[in-house]
Amino acid sequence: MTEHDPTFSTTADTGAATLPKVKPPAIKMRKTEDLASLKIAISLRNFNSWYTDFHALHDIDLDIPENRVTAFIGPSGCGKSTLLRWINRMNDLIAGARCEGTLDLHGDNLLDRKHDVVELRRRVGMVFQKPNPFPKSIFDNVAFGPRLHMKMAKSDLGDLVERSLRQAALWEEVKDRLKDSALGLSGGQQQRLCIARAVAVSPEVLLMDEPCSALDPKSTAAVEDLISELRERYTIVIVTHNMQQAARASDYTAFMHLGDLVEYNATEQIFSKPENERTQNYITGRFG
């Protein structure tokens, strides 16, 4: 332990046996039910992963509830993006990535080699950090997924595209220019287009890897509103390095550090009464 330096005061100064209560941030957080009472969408047990020889994730035990927003927070390099990308097996694209343990989606073991990755990625959609629309028209971007997976009449496809764009709160802005290139949209619009594209194949889960980090505050607010509406239909997991965003937008939060799952609880709990010292240090900005 470091020597007592009068410049800083540490928790040892208070002398209290338990950690003092942290002043709750001035952000309105959602009231949520107890985790045990909810239906679980994704569950991980003893989950470990490696990048060649580097042990990236250690013994993760996690239950992600259905139709709620779960946030992964933690400093850079803690493994939150890695964990997210295992849920839809995007890490299969990286040479040398492997994992062990249990990863279930509604009871289906996702790590089984025989499990169809293509179907998995339809059931579990992903929105990336930097918006990556295809260099095609807005309509073709949203219709890309349905055209791959389903056979339907043109009118039905148009309906599906409209509904997806409505769900992504983009329809009013683009309904007159569906044939225009998607690259002509602003950053926030492009990200909402990517959400519409992900939603168009009727997934059960939406994974979002720092969806607002490349957006300006106004677009960020729009996307966060969208997320809280979408949770009625989809199970949502966000990775974010912005703690205030996690506090605003999520129901449950998992704090990770150096590949460990340090604490996982309702967002309100994590941000007002964290049980672990590391969590508290991160939240109060002592490191990260």
Binding site: H106, D116, V118, E119, L148, H149, M150, K151, M152, A153, D156, D159, L160, R163, R166, Q167, A168, A169, W171, S202, P203, E204, D225, E229, R233, Y234
Partner: protein
């Protein structure tokens, strides 16, 4: 905000929108994916087989074994030869790995298997050659004799010397001009708008020159270097002559059908390649080095001469070596410029009559007497050996001299 009409719960097994929407068969999509991989593997194997057959037939003819086209013996020889070649390559790679890298069990096994296959293949090839060959055309005298009217005595010596001379002239002229142009285009980019348009025009021009067929360069060389636009008299009555055509030093205007004219023509052919390769080598030097030099008060040329050029020399050298290897293989422009059949002696001086390796091969292959095809095959073996040597040298230069720049 969002007015979602009744969207069914995501986990409904029923089709998402309407009754007439069906999911595509996933297994079918997977089969298409695998089918594509199968197509790729098939076409890759076919390409490799064709390449091996090409090499085998050249080796076969160079060794004097003349099978009819689709005899079983042909296939047998090609397989034996391919086996030898492949096991040799595998042996070399695994052997190097064993000597300089880690010794693993799998490497030892690979080396052992490759060595066995190599011996088997060699035995098979040699026995076929011994049994069927009428005469081996690839001999030492092949490299030291000139062409003769008896195919068995024909050799490549004048062509080899001619190639060396022509490529020396080509390299001496093409490399300075090419590298100079590359430096101008990469390091001295103008800020003036008008000049910038000139620069992009020059760049476009170089791209065009790269696409011009080499035989058009040949006709240009004919007019510009051989006849010199008729400005200095004709080839038979030159305007200016210094020295005698039998001695080592001889210069004339117009250049006539000599080594100098051919070298300059080849220089035109090879220019765009050298320029593009040098440009890439210069571009690979990180900008931070240049900025550092400029910040210390160096002029643009001083930066180039002291910092950028030394850092990009390995890349420029590699590009030049590869360009020269292309140049040695070019027959069309030389054909237009020299247009003479068989030469008995290597060129005496820069203006002398000459021939180059690919041209000699072409002449032999065009002969009516089919036995000359075997001689041509032997020539091709020499030419390919030269190609491989140049490429190996280029790779060696790249590996040895490329330093970490930042």
């Amino acid at each position: 905000m969002s007015q979602a009409s009744a969207i069914p719960s995501p986990r409904d097994p029923a089709p998402p929108i309407a009754a007439n929407v069906r999911y595509k068969s996933r297994s079918q999509r997977k089969m298409i994916d695998m089918g594509f991989v199968a197509v790729c593997v098939t076409s890759a194997s076919l390409s490799i087989i064709i390449l091996l057959y090409l090499l085998a037939s050249i080796a076969r003819q160079a060794l004097g074994v003349n099978f009819e086209t689709n005899s079983f013996k042909n296939v047998l020889f090609s397989s034996a030869f391919s086996l030898t070649l492949i096991s040799l390559i595998v042996l070399m790679i695994a052997g190097f790995g064993l000597l300089f890298g880690k010794r693993s069990r799998s490497r030892l096994i690979t080396v052992a298997v490759a060595a066995t296959l190599l011996v088997l293949g060699l035995l098979a090839t040699v026995s076929i050659v011994k049994g069927e060959s009428t005469y081996i055309y690839l001999t030492k005298t092949f490299l030291t004799e000139p062409h003769s009217y008896k195919p068995r005595n024909a050799g490549m010596y004048p062509a080899i010397i001619g190639s060396v001379f022509v490529c020396a002239v080509c390299a001496a002229t093409a490399i300075p001009i090419g590298v100079g142009t590359a430096i101008l285009l990469e390091e001295f980019k103008p800020k003036n708008n008008k000049l910038r348009r000139v620069q992009s025009f020059v760049q476009l021009n170089i791209t065009n020159l790269a696409g011009v067929p080499s035989i058009v360069y040949g006709t240009l060389g004919l007019t510009a270097f051989v006849y010199m636009f008729g400005l200095f008299g004709t080839v038979n009555e030159p305007l200016l002559e210094i020295g005698s055509s039998k001695s080592g030093f001889y210069f004339r205007l117009p250049f006539g059908r000599g080594v100098l004219a051919a070298g300059l023509t080849l220089m035109l052919v090879v220019q765009p390649i050298i320029i593009v390769a040098s440009q890439e080598a210069l571009r690979a030097v990180p900008d931070s080095l240049r900025q550092g030099a400029l910040a210390l008060g160096a002029t643009r040329w001083q930066t180039v001469w002291n910092i950028t050029l030394p850092a990009s020399i390995p890349g420029i050298m590699t590009g030049s070596i590869l360009a020269m290897s292309r140049a040695i293989g070019e027959a069309a422009p030389i054909l237009v410029v020299s247009a003479i059949g068989y030469i008995a002696l290597p060129p005496q001086n820069l203006m002398g009559k000459f021939t180059v390796m690919p041209l000699q091969i072409f002449n032999w292959a065009s002969e009516a007497k089919h036995e000359y095809h075997n001689v041509a095959a032997a020539g091709i073996v020499v030419l390919l050996a030269e190609l491989l040597t140049f490429n190996a040298v280029a790779v060696f230069v790249r590996q040895k001299f490329t330093k970490q720049l930042s």
